[in-house]
């Protein structure tokens, strides 16, 4: 990795980064910091606190952490992220990438196509699609399974939105892992196969070490996105009785429905902190073995 191949120099490099930086500063960092500040106030959308918000320090945070509904929501979110992103999307995405890597037929193109299609359809539309699938009275799924009246969304709300999100987001992991698998030299796999290694051993000994950093990026991104995914609201509205009320839905309810913007902002920041913990955990897990070199490669200047 030699620095500055195109001869940008500091000045031009800055000029290249600047437009994005300005936009990010104005429309991302600034409102984000403002939001974090709102989290320290009792600001509301309407009512007396809208006219005269007061600084309440960490009250919103202690209030949220003491609210059993928040704790339930946090737990649901962890299950949701774990089930749909880390296990579901990453797992299914990898399985698809692995199976499709050596196939070029029409079927595999079709599979790839529908997986990607479910990723790019507008979120407002997919809510209706899944509604039609899972509906209690005359949903397509009940018709297929001959289970009339089975209330998927009511009896298994969390499972429903987990499966939904696997459907929704697997494409990203699949694409990323497909690309990552291109980096595994076929000779390595052949060597493993000659040594009579089964697929699990091949994955463990040959594939995983080479795509470790891709796995890391994928987990970082999909966890972050899933943590902030509001789409399940379209499907269950957080219900029944909050049994699928993941944190983004909780924030929506608190900030928009109840108008408690200060509390909503505080919880948004808590979500950020939880994501940070996730990120650090991934870093530890995946970089544990050949630790320092890779951290240097990611954090410090390339050598």
């Amino acid at each position: 990795m030699s620095g500055d191949a195109a001869g940008l120099g500091k000045g031009r490099a800055t000029a290249f980064v600047l437009p994005a930086l300005v936009l990010i500063t104005v429309f991302l960092i600034f409102p984000a910091l403002w939001t974090i500040y709102l989290g320290l106030t009792d600001y509301r959308l309407t009512g007396l606190s809208a006219a005269n918000p007061r600084i309440v320090g960490l009250d919103n945070y202690t209030g949220a952490l003491g609210d059993p509904r928040f704790r339930t929501s946090l737990w649901l979110t962890l299950l949701y992220v774990g089930g749909s992103a880390i296990v579901g999307q990453a797992g299914l995405g990898f399985a698809l990438a692995w199976i499709l890597r050596s196939r070029t037929g029409a079927v595999s193109r079709l599979v790839e196509g529908v997986v990607l299609l479910s990723w790019i359809l507008p979120s407002t539309v997919v809510g209706f699609l899944w509604f039609a699938l899972l509906d209690r009275d005359d949903g397509t799924l009940n018709a297929l399974l001959h289970t009339p009246g089975f209330a998927w969304l009511l009896d298994h709300p969390l499972l429903s939105i987990i499966v939904f999100n696997v459907w929704r987001g697997t494409a990203f992991s699949m694409m990323l892992y497909s690309a990552a698998l291109e980096n595994v030299p076929p000779s390595h796999l052949e060597t493993a196969r000659l040594a009579d290694a089964g697929v699990p051993q091949q994955l463990r000994d040959v594939v995983f070490p080479r795509i470790r950093r891709h796995v890391l990026t994928n987990l970082l991104l999909i966890s972050l996105w899933t943590f902030n995914d509001f789409t399940p609201f379209v499907l269950t509205g957080g219900g029944p009785e909050g049994r699928s009320e993941i944190l983004p839905v909780y924030v929506y309810r608190v900030a928009l429905r109840d108008g408690e913007l200060g509390v909503g902002a505080a919880i948004s920041f808590l979500i950020l902190l939880i994501n940070l913990v996730f990120a650090l955990a991934y870093l530890r897990l995946l970089r544990g073995r050949n630790g320092r070199r890779e951290i240097a490669a990611a954090g410090g200047p390339h050598t």
Binding site: L18, G47, S49, A50, R136, G237, E241, G242, L256
Partner: protein
Amino acid sequence: MRLSVCLHVLNREADMRSPSRPAVIGAITVLALTSCGTGTDSGGGSVTLTIAANSISGGKNSESADWITKWVIPEFQKAHPNVKVTFQPSGVDDEQYKTKISLDLKSKTGADVIDLDGIWVGEFAQAGYIKPLAEVGGAAVEQWEGWSQIPQAVQGLGIFDGKKYGLPQGTDGRVLFYNKTLFKKAGLPEPWQPTSWQEIIDAGTRLKAAGVPVPIQLNAGTAMGEATTMQGVLPLLAGAGSEIYTAGKWTGDSQAMRDALGLYQQIYGGSGLGDPKLQQEAKGRDKSFARFAEGEIGILAESDYFWRSVVEPTAGVAPMKDRDQVVGYTKIPAKRPGGGIRGQDHVSMSGGAVRVLNPFSKNPGPAWELLAFMHSAAATKSELAGQVRISSRTDVNDEVLTADPMLRYIAEEVLPITAYRPGVAVYPQVSTALQEATAAVVSGGSAAEASAAYQTKLEGLVGGAANIGG
């Protein structure tokens, strides 16, 4: 269009000095941020007024939007040649509309005449988003001819702290709808006029015995949102003799609350009189409409909206071609005769939208004129054209409601006994707490537990037990 013009300008800017191209690219964003706003062109001396409403042509409340664009605007402009009126439609969830309007008013912008749900008046006033009409519109407000036509109770929709903030557009009332065919099948009387909760339960039991899948639909749970509170908890609470908010105190874990939740328990707690699952579904209310129309629900508590827009034979959401023959309606009884609020035998709840003036309007005088014009008898009649609903004006109602016996029933029988929700900022959260209490009962909890849990939540919301009455 604006975007392309803007970028065009920027491109010219960028070509002027080629040596420091990257720097110019950096500047594009900055320029774009500063120079590409909307200009509000208030053409040469004339006055521009804007109306905002949660309605949109071709979508939600389409008729209302069309009325504004096709009647109000041309007629008003005809009378006021120097005024240009524009309409800013929305047509989304009420909460989202409320958010948008709050944001507008918070930044002291927005339309001059704004539609609000009457229930929001208090919190908007407290936030300083709206001011009493007389403060904004001046002396002309008190002299308006329309006041005498609006009953005091209906005027209450726009009143907060004794001051008039908005003109009510109309109101509604809640009754029990029932399916006469199913009633006949179950051997129940027609007309059905229950006088106590027990009679409702008895009718439900008979219906169940006659094989009706869902004898009683009493909205419950959080998924139904405000429909649970307005069509369920509050009428029951009123029927048990209590209002949710009186004399500065909220109703907590009281006997009335336990009674109201107790009725829920009777219906959903294993008796099979109601369908608990339906209450939990995200689209449960829509489904209840469809199932009523399909003849699967015996009794359903709803507002006259159900009659006007849901089972309406032609344009309804769940149209019933034989509505007038099949659908019966009756007042909601108190727990026992005389047990309701103010000692009433029957109770109801009402709500309704208002129109307010934007206190930050640049043209408050003309804005009031427009508002008053929109509430004139002629305008109100035009607004109702082709549809029957209860307007705020007695003179108009007298004329229009003769066409529909059901709405006349509401106007004559229900409105005199009805009650309104408190217009204070914390109400939506109290309402959610009430919904959660019913949800707890529907999923198998006892009324007493749910009521106690509600009390705890309520204390957190309204600032302690001191603000809660007995």
